[in-house]
C-alpha cells in the first residue's frame, strides 16, 4: 500500500507531458507524473499554480490541450460517461443546490450515477446527525462540506478528488471533514488526491506528494522517498554549488555559513563528511516550502526531480 508498488496495479493517475492552454497562457505544461492506486496524494501549490486545471482534467471537466492523461487506464479519449464514473469530486466551496433538501441531493445522486450507494449516503448523514429534510441553505458550512463529501463517496468511485476541501471551514469542521476522508480511505483501497495551498497540515494526510508552481511540476513522488532523498546541509559560506553532494534546491546564506537543501543524486554516495559540515534530515514542510519557492521555469529539472523521486535501489526509506 505504501510507496513502491507501481508494478502490477493500474495506476490511479498517469500523465505524460500533459498541458492545458487558456488562450495564450499555459495553465499547466509538461506535466508527467504517476499516482499509484491506494495512496493519499497531496497536490500543493500557490493559487494559480495549475492545481485546479490538473484536477479538472483528471475529473473530465476539461480536456487537455496537449499530452496524455489516463485515470485507471481510461484515457481522455474514452467515452465521457466511463471517465466520469471513476472520480468522486468535491469542488472548492462545496457546491450544492441551495433549494434542494439533503434528500433531494441524494435523489440527484441516484438519478445521475448508476453506481450510487444510497445506503452509504444515508448511513453517513445519520451518523453526522444531518436531517434529510433540511434544505441545503439551512446547513452550516461544515455540514454542507460533509454532504458534498457524501455525494462524492456514495458514488463509489475508486478515485476521490478534493479541491481545497477545508479552506472555508472552521478548525473543528476541518477536523471532522478530514476524519471522514481518512476513515473512508482506510481499508477500501480508495485513492485520494487533495489539492491545497496550506502546507503545514499535509504531512499527516499525504503519503504521496506533488508540488506545482507556475503550471509546472517541481516535485512528485512518494513522500517518504522524497524526504529520504533530501538533506539539509550546513556548510561554510564559501562552498560552491559544484562541491555539494547533490543538486541544491534552496540555499540560504549567512555571514559565515550557508544552509542548503540538497537532493541527493541516486548515483552519488551519501553526504560526505567534511569539517564544518553538518547534514540533517529534512522535514516534510521544509521540503515542500523549499520547492514552492523555486522559480517555476525549471522544465529541465522537472525530469530529474521525478527521476530522483521514483523508487529506486538507492532511495529506500531511511529509519530515523
Amino acid at each position: 500500500m505504501t510507496q513502491n508498488d507501481t508494478g502490477g496495479n493500474i495506476p490511479a493517475l498517469r500523465t505524460d507531458r500533459l498541458g492545458r492552454r487558456y488562450g495564450r497562457v499555459w495553465g499547466l505544461r509538461n506535466c508527467t507524473l504517476e499516482v499509484p492506486a491506494g495512496v493519499i496524494a497531496g497536490l500543493v501549490g500557490p493559487n494559480g499554480a495549475g492545481k485546479t486545471t490538473l484536477l479538472e482534467m483528471i475529473i473530465g471537466l476539461l480536456q487537455p490541450t496537449e499530452g496524455q492523461l489516463s485515470v485507471f487506464g481510461e484515457t481522455s479519449h474514452a467515452p465521457m460517461a466511463a471517465r466520469l464514473a471513476q472520480v468522486g469530486y468535491v469542488a472548492q466551496d462545496h457546491p450544492l443546490y441551495r433549494d434542494f433538501s439533503v434528500g433531494d441531493m441524494f435523489h440527484l445522486g441516484r438519478a445521475m450515477n448508476p453506481s450510487w450507494d444510497q445506503k452509504l449516503a444515508l448511513a453517513r448523514t445519520d451518523a453526522l446527525d444531518i436531517p434529510l429534510k433540511r434544505k441545503v441553505k439551512s446547513l452550516s458550512g461544515g455540514q454542507r462540506a460533509q454532504v458534498s463529501l457524501t455525494m462524492a463517496l456514495a458514488k463509489r468511485a475508486p478515485l476521490l478528488v478534493l479541491d481545497e476541501p477545508v479552506s472555508s471551514l472552521d478548525p473543528v469542521a476541518r477536523l471532522e471533514f478530514m476524519r471522514e476522508v481518512m476513515a473512508a480511505a482506510a481499508g477500501t483501497g480508495l485513492t485520494v488526491i487533495i489539492a491545497s495551498h496550506v502546507v503545514s497540515e499535509l504531512e499527516r494526510f499525504c503519503d504521496w506528494l506533488i508540488v506545482l508552481t507556475g503550471g509546472h511540476v517541481q516535485l512528485a513522488g512518494p513522500a517518504d522517498n522524497l524526504i529520504a532523498a533530501h538533506r539539509l546541509l550546513t556548510v561554510p559560506r564559501a562552498t560552491t554549488d559544484a562541491e555539494l553532494p547533490g543538486l541544491p534546491v534552496h540555499r540560504t546564506d549567512s555571514d559565515r555559513h550557508s544552509s542548503v537543501l540538497v537532493r541527493a543524486d541516486p548515483g552519488r554516495r551519501a553526504v560526505q563528511e567534511r569539517p564544518g559540515w553538518q547534514a540533517d534530515p529534512v522535514g516534510f514542510e521544509q521540503l515542500v516550502m523549499a520547492y514552492l519557492q523555486r522559480p517555476s521555469k525549471s522544465a529541465a529539472r522537472d525530469d530529474t526531480a521525478q527521476a530522483a523521486a521514483r523508487p529506486g535501489p538507492n532511495t529506500k526509506a531511511v529509519t530515523r
Partner: protein, 291 residues
Amino acid sequence: MIWVSWRQHRGQAIACLAVLAALAVYAILLGTSMRTAFGHDALTACLARSQGTACPAAIQAFTNRFGSEVNIAFWSVVLIVPGLIGVLVGGSLIARELEYGTWRLAWSQTVPRARWLAVKLALVTGGLIVLGAAMTGVITWYRAPMDRLTGHLQHNIYDFEGLVLTAYILSAFGFAVLAGLLLRRSIPAMVAAFIPWLAIRLVVEFVFRDHFLAPLTTTVNCTQVCGEGIGFVPQATGRIGDLVLSINGNVVTYQPADRFWTFQFIEAGIFVALTAAALGATIWLLHRRAA
C-alpha cells in the same frame, strides 16, 4: 435525469401555473360576461343576416363595453409577456449553474453534459409548449364573442391566438438559454436575449407579416364604413375578419380572413426555426467546450 430537471424547474413551473391560473380567472370572468352581453344584444342573429351592417348600434355598444383591452397600453404590456416568460425561464437555465459554481457538481456526475442539457431542454421546452398552448386556448375561448366581430387577423388579436404565442415564448427561451451559456450570468443573459427577441418580434409583425402572401385587392363603394383598423365592423372589404392594409380611393388592399392559419404557420415557423437554431447552437457549444 428527468427527475433532476423537473426538481430544478419546479419553482418556475409553479410560477407559470400561477400566471396561467390568474389568466384563466380573468378570462372566465370576462368571457362569461361577453357571452351574456352578446346573447342579450341579439348579435348572433344580426351577424347571421349580415356582416354587421344590420346592427351598428348594438355592435358599437358591445365594442365600447369590451373593447378596452385592445388599446395601446394593454397591447404593449401583453406584447412583451411571452418574451418575458421565455427569457425568465431560459436565462437562468445554464447561467445559474455557472454563476453559482454548481456546474462543477452537475457535470462531474456520471451524465455527460450534452445529455444533461438535452434532457433539461426537452423537458422545459415541452413545458413551455404546454403553457403556450394553454394560454392560447384560454385567450381564444374568452375572446370568441369579440372575434366574431373583428376576426383574428387583426394585429393585436392575431398575437395571442393560433400558434404564434407559443412560438414567441419558445424563441425568447432559446435566445436566453444561448445567452446564458455565452454570458455566464442570468440577468445579463435575460436582458441580452430579450432585446434582439423584441426587435425581431416587432420587425416580423410590422414589416413582414402583412406580406407573407401577396395581398388581394378589391374595389368598393365607400359610403359609411370605410376605414382601416380594428374598430370597423365590417372591414372596408365588406367582410368581417379581413385585414385591410390600405385604401386608395375605391381600391382596398387587404389580406382575407381565411389566411389566418396560413399566416400563423408561417410566423410560427420563423420563430420555431429561430428557437431550434439557438438551442442547437447551445448544445453544440456546450459539447464542444467539454471536448
